[in-house]
C-alpha cells in the first residue's frame, strides 16, 4: 500500500475578486521511503497541495473534492484532533523561509523539545538527548541547543528547522523550498544532509521547488505542476530524458547550466495564467506551441502512458499525437 495516495484533490481560494482555482484534480502517490519532487513556478499550486495534505490551509480555502489517503486513512474526513496527532508525527513539514518560523524569544533547543513533547510521552531529559542526536544528524554543534535564533546564521537556522521537522521521526516530510534563501555552498551541504537523513531513517519526502536542478538531484520521482494541475509525473530519468509534456520540455530548456554545451535558452512566451479565470481546457494551451482546438475545449485526462509515467496532454511529445 502506498504511504500517501492523493486522488483528484481539488481546492479553491475564495477571495474578494472571485474564486482562485488553485489546485485542480491532482493525483499522485508516494511510497514509503521514496523521495518525490514537485516542481513548478510560483502560483502553480505546489504549496497549496502541501498545506492541503496537512489541512493547514487558510480560512478562505475551500476543499472541493478528492481524497488524501495516508496509510489508508482519508485525511480529509478525519476530525481535527486526529489530524493534529498526525501533524508532526506522521507527516511533518518544513515551510518556505522556515528560518523565520523560529520564535526569537525562546532557545532553539527548547522549541524542538516542545515539538517532541507534544507528540511523544517523553520526559525532558530524554527529549534533550533526542535533540542532541538530531543536531548531530543535521550537522549542528550540540552546544547550540541553548542559544537563541538570532545567534544562528541562515544555514544554521534552516538546519534547526529541519531537525524540528525530524524530531518525531515522521514517515513523510514535506519540504517547501527549504534552500531557496541560502547560498549555493550551504544549500549543497543541507541537501546532502537531508538526503542522508532520509536514507538512514527510511523516510519518504516530498520536495517542493521551482529549481529543476535541485529537484533533479534530490528526487527519485518528479511531478511537474502548471497552473494548479499536475501535468506530468514520472521517475527522474524519464522526466529528463523523455519528457512528454510540452511544459516539461519548455521548463528544462529555460534553465541555463554550467555543464555541457552552452546552448540558447528557449524562452516561453507569455506568463503563468491568472487562476481567477484559468484558461479553458488544458491550462497550458495559451503558451503551448502544439495547441489545437481540442486543447482549448477539453481538459486532458491524467493517464498512465507507460508504466510509472503519467501525463495530462492531448499531444504528448516524442510519441506522435
Amino acid at each position: 500500500m502506498s504511504l500517501l495516495a492523493v486522488h483528484r484533490l481539488t481546492m479553491h481560494y475564495t477571495t474578494k475578486m472571485g474564486e482562485v482555482h488553485a489546485v485542480d484534480a491532482v493525483s499522485f502517490a508516494i511510497e514509503p521511503g521514496e523521495a518525490i519532487g514537485l516542481v513548478g513556478e510560483s502560483g502553480c499550486g505546489k504549496t497549496s497541495i502541501a498545506l492541503a495534505l496537512l489541512r493547514l490551509l487558510p480560512d478562505n480555502a475551500r476543499f472541493l473534492g478528492g481524497e488524501v489517503l495516508f496509510e489508508g486513512v482519508d485525511l480529509t474526513r478525519i476530525p481535527e484532533e486526529k489530524m493534529r496527532k498526525i501533524r508532526g508525527r506522521g507527516i511533518s513539514m518544513i515551510f518556505q523561509a522556515a528560518m523565520n518560523s523560529l520564535n526569537p524569544v525562546y532557545r532553539v533547543g527548547d522549541q524542538i523539545i516542545e515539538a517532541i513533547q507534544t507528540h511523544l510521552p517523553i520526559g525532558s531529559k530524554e527529549a534533550r538527548r533526542r535533540v542532541a542526536e538530531l543536531y548531530e544528524l543535521v550537522g549542528l554543534a550540540p552546544e547550540l541547543m541553548d542559544r537563541y535564533p538570532h545567534e544562528y546564521s541562515g544555514g544554521m537556522k534552516q538546519r534547526a528547522v529541519i531537525a524540528m521537522a525530524l524530531a518525531c521521526e515522521p514517515k513523510l516530510i514535506i519540504a517547501d523550498e527549504p534552500t531557496t534563501a541560502l547560498d549555493v555552498i550551504v544549500q549543497d551541504r543541507i541537501l546532502r544532509r537531508i538526503d542522508g537523513v532520509r536514507r538512514r531513517l527510511n523516510m519518504a519526502m516530498m520536495y517542493i521547488s521551482h529549481d529543476i536542478a535541485v529537484i533533479a538531484e534530490v528526487s527519485q520521482r518528479i511531478g511537474v505542476m502548471y497552473a494548479g494541475c499536475l501535468v506530468e509525473c514520472a521517475d527522474t530519468l524519464t522526466i529528463f530524458k523523455r519528457p512528454a509534456h510540452p511544459y516539461t520540455t519548455a521548463l528544462m530548456s529555460a534553465f541555463p547550466s554550467i555543464k555541457g554545451e552552452k546552448r540558447k535558452l528557449q524562452a516561453l512566451p507569455g506568463e503563468p495564467p491568472n487562476l481567477l479565470r484559468p484558461p479553458s481546457g488544458c491550462r497550458f494551451h495559451p503558451r503551448c506551441p502544439y495547441a489545437t482546438e481540442t486543447c482549448v475545449r477539453q481538459v486532458p485526462d491524467y493517464q498512465e502512458i507507460e508504466p510509472g509515467h503519467f501525463l495530462a496532454c492531448w499531444h504528448p511529445q516524442g510519441r506522435g499525437s
Partner: protein
C-alpha cells in the same frame, strides 16, 4: 582601444557601530577591498559570488550610489570619483545606469509606465512632451512591451513580474547609456520568464551597443550571459577571466568549490562534494593573510605566512589570486 570602465584598487569600508567607550577601536566591514578590473565597450562582464561577497556594493560604487573609501574608477578615461555635482555628474548619469533586482520595488507604485520610463528623459532636459512620448514608445517596443500604447498608462501593480522588469530595463535604456549595471535582474522572476528577459538583455547589447556589469549569485546564469567572469569572495576578486575558461577550468579553490556546489539538472551526473570547510564569515577587520585561508582545504605554509595573494595572470587574461594555482 581604452576600456569603457576601469576600476583601480577600489575599496569601500563601512563603519560598524562600535560600543561607546570601547577601547577596541573602530571595526570596519571591508565590503569591497582592493578590487580592480575593466569593462570593455559592448562587453558583458559577470560578477559572481555568494551573499556578502561585495558584488552588489561594487555595482553601487560604479553607479555612484556609494563613493569609494579609496581607489579610482575611470569612465572613458575620466576619473569619476572626483565628480561630485553639477554638469559633470549629470553627464555621468547619462552614461551609466542600473537595473535592480526587485521588479516591483524598483518602480514607484504611483507612477504610470510612461512616468517611470520618461523620468530620466525629463531629468536630462527633454522638455518636449511629444519627444518624450515618442522615445518612451520606441524603447517600450524594443523591450518587447508591444503595442506600447497599451502599456503607457498602466501602473506597476497591473503588470506581471516579467513586464515590470522590462519596464525597469526600458527606463535604464531610454537615455542610451554606455554601461548598465544589472543587479540580479532575473532572480525574482518566474523561471519560465527569466530566459525571455535574459535574451532581451543580450539583444539590447547588440542593438544599442551597451555594456553590462552583470551581477548574479547563479553561476549558470553568469555562464549564459557573460563574456568574462570575476568571482568575488569577502570583498576581493579571487579569479577573473574569459567565462568558459573560468567555468571549465577554475584555478582558485573557492571557484572550484562554488562550481562543485551548483546543482546540475542532469540526473545521470554524479556531482562531487565541494572541497571547502567551515562557514562564511563576515568581512569585518579581516586578517592580512589570504581571505580564503580558514576555509581552504589545500592551504599550505606559504598561505599562512604571506599576505593575501595578488591577482596573477596565468596567461590569456585568466587571473587568479592564489599562491598554489600559480605554480
Amino acid at each position: 582601444m581604452p576600456a569603457l570602465l576601469d576600476l583601480l584598487n577600489v575599496t569601500k569600508l563601512f563603519l560598524l557601530k562600535r560600543q561607546a567607550f570601547s577601547l577596541r577601536g573602530h571595526r570596519f566591514v571591508h565590503a569591497v577591498d582592493g578590487v580592480s578590473f575593466s569593462l570593455e565597450p559592448r562587453e558583458i562582464f559577470g560578477l559572481v559570488g555568494e551573499s556578502g561577497c561585495g558584488k552588489t556594493t561594487t555595482g553601487k560604487l560604479i553607479v555612484k550610489l556609494y563613493e569609494p573609501t579609496s581607489g579610482r574608477i575611470f569612465l572613458d578615461g575620466q576619473d569619476i570619483t572626483q565628480i561630485r555635482r553639477g554638469p559633470a555628474l549629470r553627464q555621468f548619469r547619462r552614461s551609466v545606469q542600473m537595473i535592480f533586482q526587485d521588479p516591483y520595488e524598483s518602480l514607484n507604485p504611483r507612477f504610470t509606465v510612461f512616468d517611470a520610463v520618461a523620468e530620466p528623459l525629463l531629468i536630462h532636459g527633454v522638455r518636449a512632451l511629444s519627444e518624450r512620448e515618442a522615445r518612451v514608445a520606441e524603447i517600450l517596443a524594443q523591450v518587447g512591451l508591444t503595442p506600447p500604447e497599451t502599456f503607457l498608462f498602466r501602473f506597476p501593480h497591473e503588470l506581471s513580474g516579467g513586464q515590470r522588469q522590462r519596464v525597469a530595463i526600458a527606463r535604464a535604456m531610454v537615455i542610451h547609456p554606455k554601461c548598465v549595471v544589472a543587479d540580479e535582474p532575473t532572480s525574482m522572476l518566474d523561471v519560465s520568464v527569466r530566459a525571455g528577459v535574459m535574451d532581451l538583455l543580450l539583444g539590447l547589447r547588440q542593438e544599442l551597443g551597451v555594456s553590462y556589469l552583470y551581477i548574479t549569485h547563479d553561476l549558470a546564469v553568469a555562464r549564459y550571459m557573460s563574456d568574462r567572469l570575476a568571482v568575488m569572495y569577502l570583498g576581493k576578486i579571487v579569479e577573473l577571466g574569459p567565462t568558459e575558461e573560468v567555468i571549465q577550468s577554475p584555478q582558485h579553490p573557492y571557484t572550484q568549490a562554488l562550481l562543485a556546489a551548483v546543482p546540475v539538472p542532469d540526473p545521470t551526473y554524479q556531482r562531487p562534494s565541494p572541497a571547502i570547510k567551515g562557514d562564511v564569515v563576515a568581512p569585518v577587520n579581516p586578517p592580512l593573510q589570504c581571505r580564503f585561508l580558514s576555509r581552504c582545504p589545500r592551504a599550505e605554509e606559504v598561505c599562512r605566512d604571506s599576505p593575501h595573494p595578488p591577482l596573477a595572470d596565468l596567461g590569456s587574461g585568466h587571473l587568479v589570486a592564489c599562491y598554489l594555482a600559480r605554480r
